[in-house]
Symmetry: C2
Subunit: 183 residues, 2 copies
Amino acid sequence: MTTYEVEQKFRIEDAAALEERLSSLGATPMVAIEQVDTYFAHPVRDFRETDEAFRLRRVGSQNFVTYKGPKIDATTKTRREIELPLPEGKDYAAEFRSLVEVLGFRVVADVSKVRRTTELNWEGGTIEVSLDDVADVGQYVELELVVPESEVASAKNRLASLASGLRLQLNERRSYLEILIGE
Amino acid sequence: MTTYEVEQKFRIEDAAALEERLSSLGATPMVAIEQVDTYFAHPVRDFRETDEAFRLRRVGSQNFVTYKGPKIDATTKTRREIELPLPEGKDYAAEFRSLVEVLGFRVVADVSKVRRTTELNWEGGTIEVSLDDVADVGQYVELELVVPESEVASAKNRLASLASGLRLQLNERRSYLEILIGE
């Protein structure tokens, strides 16, 4: 099923204060996971210009392949996303990477982060909140909803409201990859 | 692991006679399976010129993604092959196809066949023999060994010897896809 990932990302100024606010709003305990995203460049399309992304994600032993379409909204990072699970294991990830490379894609960078995720009830629905410590990039928080197309507008409003409630101000539209490679 | 698929394919003149010969050589009973291969064109590379193939294979509920490199031998169809399993199911296959298409690949054709496979001992090793009834293409037999690079030469010799033993003469170098689209 094609879904839309509606999210906003903010640079964290004061991690301790943010965690306190989340806790006071009833956020569930954080679960920390390590994620490594391998981003590919397309054989001919310039993903920086088309605002797309194609990546292999490894979360522990789990693998996923993800395509993200161009952002269709200036404030939130609403975009089409296709994320599919792949068989498990580091070996499989390496073989899938070989397959992608032999088709003419090129590895641009690995983005490695520790993500601590929690869920928060806000305005009658659940929003996923992720605190990311990204190697060579910094500390960020992402607010995210994955919704069908018909619910994109209301999802955006709920994210804006939560951001305000958490006193998040340093909105960041760039991806971690873009920040990492200095764009 | 990168392996080399060494194979020869022949058009079948007389299916009954061939099956009799296989049986007299001690071939194990045939197992019939239905295979549907969806072949993709690359966004910019012309796979007909580069002699490559990229496809999604569905065998019942099982899915595989396969890349085949250029043939490196004129007689056999020896080539580099990367074949990886994917999660099961028709829905997954459809989603993976969407992912491939959004990256700029285009579906060229579906090749649909009933394949009956058996194994034969020949000159001290096992050779896979597949009788294919290919929709809109015809009846063919494939002799195949998958070997590491160091064994490619001896594998070729064994296939030629078996082809001779089975009185197969109508060697066909084209893929089913090429025959189907009339090349």
